[in-house]
Subunit: 333 residues, 2 copies
């Protein structure tokens, strides 16, 4: 359904796996870490049925490049900090990745656009199978997959979706909703913000528990909650159009005006304004931006993504100017 595409930005499955006969990453030696990286790389890249994966060592990447990967949700800040042992296997389309020697030895991640947890689950299982053929995973008949942190024991799976919820945010219903969701054993995080602070009205929800339920059940639970949130966001959008069309139109067009004209803009402001314009397009107020990927624009205006596309160092002021210019060009394209 169309609403779903507008509201669910991405789906993501992460599987935590560890190797028998190795200490957990925080305790192991550098030699062991290197061996795990090599073994994982070999297992994956020598499998004929797999995609090609680039192997990126954290120690070889600049801070900016690591931050770009963080902003794209391809690695965690913890992996970026694991300078001498961390590595990433990354498929060319960047939809599949394996973090090596983060909290667990192996974390398989699969990413897809829109609501596609099942597809992501199938893809990640396939990667899991390929790796398991060559590697000896720590698995307990009773507990399931053994993980460094007890909260991940069991399936080792985290299913998460990134939701764009501007109407619920603008109408101040979001906090209450997120609280009630969190009561259902579901974690909610703002995206690109600290703690639960959200930027661009983006929220990520994922399962809290990994134990005592099958992967299918966990995915089904998240999916059901997502359907409810979509309905609520959609209903709120309808109400906005019905009761506050003039006010919201003004807000949305002002956002478009600032994005189209400003000469300097912070990440936070850019995210918020793009979010308004995205909403405006989806509720039929803004026309003519149909071919723009505004969610992609939200990612590209992140500080390190911007810097990575520039020559040389940028001060904060230069970055804000660059961001404004980048947005103007993207909207005019």
């Amino acid at each position: 359904m169309d609403n779903e595409k507008e509201i669910v930005m991405t789906s993501r499955i992460r599987l935590a796996r560890n190797l028998k006969n190795y200490k957990f990453p925080m305790k192991m030696t550098c030699e062991e870490a290197v061996r795990i990286i090599n073994d994982t790389n070999e297992a994956l890249n020598n499998d004929s049925s797999s995609l090609n994966y680039r192997l990126l060592y954290m120690k070889d990447l600049s801070d900016i490049n690591k931050n770009v990967l963080i902003e794209k949700h391809l690695i965690s800040p913890a992996l970026a900090e694991s300078k001498d042992r961390g590595a990433l296997l990354l498929s060319i389309d960047e939809n599949n990745s394996i973090m090596i020697n983060e909290e667990d030895h192996i974390r398989i991640q699969t990413l897809g656009t829109g609501m596609c947890l099942n597809e992501c689950w199938e893809k990640s299982t396939k990667i899991d199978d390929v790796l398991e053929e060559k590697l000896d995973f720590a698995f307990d008949r009773e507990l399931g997959y053994i993980t460094s942190c007890p909260t991940n024991i069991g399936t080792g799976m985290r299913a998460s979706v990134m939701l764009h919820l501007p109407a619920l945010s603008i109408t101040n219903q979001i906090d209450k909703l997120l609280y009630s969701i969190s009561q259902l054993g579901v974690a909610v995080r703002g995206v690109y913000g600290e703690g639960t602070k959200s930027m661009g009205h983006l929220y990520q929800i994922s399962n809290q528990g990994t134990l005592g339920a099958s992967e299918d059940k966990l995915i089904e639970k998240i999916s059901q909650i997502v359907v409810q949130i979509i309905q609520k966001e959609k209903a709120t959008r309808d109400l906005l159009i019905k009761n506050n069309k003039d006010e919201i139109s003004d807000e949305i067009y002002r956002a478009l005006g600032l994005l189209s004209y400003a000469r300097s803009m912070s990440t936070d402001e850019a995210m918020k304004l793009i979010s308004y314009v995205k909403l405006g397009r989806e509720i039929g107020i803004v026309e003519g931006l149909k071919n723009k990927n505004l969610y992609d624009l939200m990612i590209k205006v992140q500080p390190n993504n911007l810097i990575a596309n520039s020559k040389g160092e940028l001060t904060v002021k230069e970055r804000d100017m660059k961001r404004a210019e980048f947005i103007r060009n993207k909207l005019q394209d």
Copy 2:
């Protein structure tokens, strides 16, 4: 000089005159008021060398139409309130007008674009001469022209100029400057605002005293002060470009973005944003609006000007939406 045109919006001369053998307007009878209106109208419109003047009785005008005249500075609020006795003689180009039975029996006003106090003075003197041929003005050899309020006795002249001072305003130098000017016996008023509150960074300065100096001297004094203010505004613009070009460019383009896209806008915000864009054009930041009369736009976004151009009554919300639409259309023309 070009700077002058950008900074001095209009010049205006007002002459206060009263008729012998009549009480001042606040004391006279309605019959006397009507006689003065008729005599003045006849004196002016029967003179072959004069322009054609429309005679507008305050009692015949709607509140909106009276407020439009106030917003155009063609009548005072006091005249608008003088329902049964007040009238206006107005030339077709609206540059010359005679208020009848305001505080004084007759107030001749001449208006011109840019710095042109001398031309206005010549025009108003000509009107004064035409009227004096037929009407018997109250004049005292020692005191000069007799007026209702002692502050206007003498020449009965007020020379005023409307200045656009965005750079001095933005950099918070304006209050100090206006205070020091007021010490020179010059009155300073914000325009379209209450008291000294300014809208759109517009300020009107005029002579305080009308006694003890010739009209030429009073005009010369105002002109000298205006030249100094222009120099200060110009120097501040140069400094803005030199030291804060990026910041001011952002402010100016944001203003243009909001004016080009907003769906609702208050008078106050519109005035401020148009002022920024006008500054931007004049300091070479905004291009492509060369043919727009932005000062005229400032007047046309005033509430009653807007309403007068609409069909039917407008709520405040509708007016703000109408204003935003009007501005968008004007900028796109």
